[in-house]
């Protein structure tokens, strides 16, 4: 061993110059190299996303339209239960839910599908070499395609119902989507690797996602049902716990932009009713920015854990 030249000595600049560098297969590849491998494999990411979407709806009559069915049913159920039966008084309630629910279901489905992806595609993982995180990223990628489709249907509905979004808050959508995309990717990568070793992860995740959903102000209003009840009381910390949930700022941002109205007229009491926080838009960006930075750190951590666990995938599967 001592007689051999150290690994770092291998030059990447050779007479051929362009073309292929030296690929090193060893335990513990540095983080920077993994990122550059990921970038180098972006074509594969595209191919995997395309194939995943194609496969999913290959033999179904409605095809991609099925992606609309599940959220539509969910919307209808929450609309009936909270809008009609319990009368929470939020006007255009369906649009209120949809603005948070679509992005949430993107996040939760990505997380669930991403967690199982390495185990599910064991055949490829065991036989073909490529950065395996791409499988998790591709799952998130195909889910984002569905999200865009669902958003376009939502936009159509808003036109039909004549609900106008807050145009000035529209950039919030971009910031919010970037944040949730980052978190979904990081968590999918992390849990997809852990799931190889602990198959329970998949099942725990399903329960966890259920709890997480109700912890996030999607079907109810953060401001009216959480903030106003605890502000000024001894329980004010509860409001902070809500904001520690990384998805809460994302959902709030989407509600602020798509639903748009901060204060509305309650449909039952006909009094002014504050649904969304009245913070200036800058506060939303600050919150999202903080969550985004934490997400970046999480992504680095996830890829690190993934690369540690990846070495034994082929034997554990």
């Amino acid at each position: 061993m001592a007689a051999n030249p150290p690994a770092e000595q291998v030059p990447t600049t050779t007479p051929e110059g362009e073309g292929h560098g030296v690929r090193i297969v060893a335990a513990g590849v540095p983080l920077g190299r993994r990122f550059s491998d990921l970038v180098a494999n972006r074509e594969l990411l595209g191919a995997l996303i395309r194939s995943e979407i194609k496969v999913k709806y290959k033999n179904s009559a409605l095809g991609v339209a099925w992606t609309m069915v599940a959220p539509a049913i969910q919307l209808a159920i929450y609309g009936v239960v909270f809008g009609i039966v319990f009368k929470n008084g939020i006007p255009d309630y369906l649009i209120y839910i949809a603005s948070g629910l679509l992005v949430w279901s993107f996040f939760s489905t990505s997380l669930l599908a991403g967690t199982g992806v390495i185990v599910g595609r064991a055949g490829i993982v065991k036989k073909v070499s490529f950065p395996r995180e791409i499988l998790a990223i591709a799952t998130v990628g195909s889910q984002s395609i569905y999200l865009f489709l669902q958003w376009s249907v939502l936009a159509l509905f808003m036109v039909v119902l004549g609900h106008v979004p807050d145009w000035t808050a529209m950039p919030l959508i971009i910031a919010g989507f970037a944040t949730v995309l980052l978190w979904a990717t990081a968590l999918s990568i992390l849990f997809s690797a852990i799931n190889v070793y602990f198959r329970d992860t998949q099942h725990l995740m399903e329960i966890f996602v259920q709890i997480w959903f109700w912890m996030t102000p999607i079907v109810y209003s953060f401001h009216a049902q959480v903030h106003e009840r605890v502000v000024g009381t001894a329980n004010e910390w509860l409001s902070w716990i809500y904001l520690c949930n990384p998805i809460t700022p994302v959902v709030l941002a989407f509600q602020r932009a798509i639903y748009g109205d901060v204060t509305v007229t309650n449909t039952t009491s006909h009094l002014p009713y504050q649904v969304l926080p009245s913070w200036p838009l800058a506060n939303f960006y600050e919150l999202l920015g903080a969550v985004f930075v934490i997400g970046l750190l999480l992504l680095g951590f996830a890829i690190r854990v993934f690369s540690r666990l990846e070495g034994n995938f082929a034997e554990e599967l």
């Binding site: 061993m1 051999n4 690994a7 291998v10 030059p11 050779t14 051929e16 073309g19 292929h20 560098g21 030296v22 690929r23 090193i24 297969v25 060893a26 335990a27 074509e43 594969l44 595209g46 191919a47 995997l48 194939s51 194609k54 496969v55 290959k58 033999n59 055949g123 490829i124 993982v125 065991k126 036989k127 073909v128 070499s129 490529f130 070793y197 602990f198 198959r199 329970d200 725990l204 990846e310 070495g311 034994n312 082929a314 034997e315 554990e316």
Partner: protein
């Protein structure tokens, strides 16, 4: 490092074999530190360099670490310690049709698989027709691959791998499948690859295939590299290790009294049979001379004894059978021990452990008859490139 080279540097791989693979969090919590496993070093300290343009065969019996080594070179497994450095585009055929998505059509799979092997979309467009032509699947290219036969799978997989224009091609025993004609086509393609000066790493259980195409071989034995060099020597070593557990060493003397094939004699016994190079009794190079010595013991004198020998290839093909009678010799032996020596001037057989069966008889019916299967082993070594059973020492010229 030149393009097309692979450096395997002190690579070790440890596997943990668990008694029960499906461990849950519950079990981990209830029985911390009670993980039931034992360690297995599938590879330990393997070092070798594959130079650009060479064809290297990796030989080893089942469980010797061949596949682990190949997976490490392809990057599917990470070594526990050490590293593999690869320069150049590497296409691995660990299993034909591995990256295939059964629900997608052959066409979609060519694109998916090609991208996995590192090609850009437009690069696949350029070789698409060639892939389809090579795989001979023109009619079925838009059929979902789940409807393909295994032969079609293999054809498509090989066609993609060889057409992605890799600098290094890694093949794991995949040529054992597919029909003979397609196998030949693959071999031709591999030879063309060699002629183009590309690097090939080839794993096979078949020493014949390895000898036919490889410039050098690496022999693995229980995870250790025991040989790296010229094929014929490597193949000999591989065979020696393969037969370590069963069968005796080369030129083994077999005690005739242990024979169960003795049919009708009490008085005539084959005491010992030895086969090998004259004098030394060791391995014989193709076209070298060999000797088979049969030590006979008898309680009473035998008139006109006929000794027969039969040579059987490692694959069980009877290559030759002849007797002293055929050679125009009749022996009369006295009571006690006698040796009968068959001499073959030039043995044309290719390498391998050839089995020798020996018989003793007398003309006519009712006489003594002794037949001993696997009486000895004649080990052959060969360094040429001929395939088949024999080297005919042929020459060729233009007329």
């Amino acid at each position: 490092m030149e393009t097309g080279s692979v450096v395997v540097e002190d690579v070790s791989k440890r596997f943990r074999l668990y008694r029960d693979k499906h461990r849950s969090i519950k079990e981990r919590v209830l029985h911390p530190g009670r993980l039931d496993f034992h360690e297995l070093w599938a590879l330990s300290g393997v070092n070798f360099t594959v130079h650009p343009g060479s064809t290297v065969g990796i030989l080893g019996h089942n469980g010797s670490g061949k596949s682990t080594l190949l997976k490490t070179i392809c990057g599917v497994l990470q070594p526990t310690s050490g590293e593999v450095r690869v320069r150049g585009k590497l296409a691995g055929l660990l299993e034909l049709g591995a990256g295939f998505e059964p629900e997608l059509s052959g066409r979609d799979n060519i694109y998916l698989n090609g991208t996995m092997l590192g090609l850009k979309r437009h690069e696949i467009d350029a070789v698409f027709d060639e892939i389809v032509a090579f795989s001979e699947l023109e009619q079925f290219i838009d059929t979902q691959v789940k409807f393909y036969s295994s032969g079609m799978y293999i054809r498509l997989g090989f066609a993609v791998a060889v057409n992605v224009d890799p600098e290094i091609l890694v093949i794991d025993e995949v040529l054992a499948v597919g029909d003979e004609r397609f196998q030949r086509k693959c071999m031709d393609r591999i030879k063309k690859f060699q002629a183009d000066g590309r690097t090939i790493i080839f794993v096979s259980q078949s020493p014949e295939q390895v000898r036919a195409i490889c410039d050098e071989v690496v022999v693995l034995h229980h995870g250790e590299m025991i040989f790296h060099g010229e094929p014929s020597e490597g193949i000999r070593l591989f065979r020696e290790r393969l037969n370590e557990t069963d069968g005796g060493p080369v030129g083994a003397a077999v005690d005739g009294s242990a024979s169960t094939e003795v049919l009708a004699t009490q008085s005539l016994r084959i005491a010992q049979v030895r086969a090998g190079a004259p004098g030394s009794g060791g391995a014989v190079a193709t076209h070298g001379g060999a000797e088979v010595v049969i030590s006979v013991e008898t309680d009473s004198a035998v008139e006109d004894l006929i000794a027969s020998i039969e040579l059987v290839s490692p694959m069980g093909v009877t290559l030759a059978r002849f007797s002293s009678h055929d050679l125009g010799q009749g022996f009369s032996i006295a009571t006690g021990a006698t040796s009968i020596v068959f001499t073959i001037d030039a043995v044309p057989f290719l390498d391998g452990r050839h089995q020798i069966n020996v018989g003793l008889s007398t003309p006519g019916e009712g006489g003594p008859f002794v037949w001993l299967e696997q009486a000895a082993v004649l080990e052959m070594t060969y360094s040429g490139k001929a395939e088949g059973l024999v080297d005919l020492a042929a020459t060729v010229r233009l007329n």
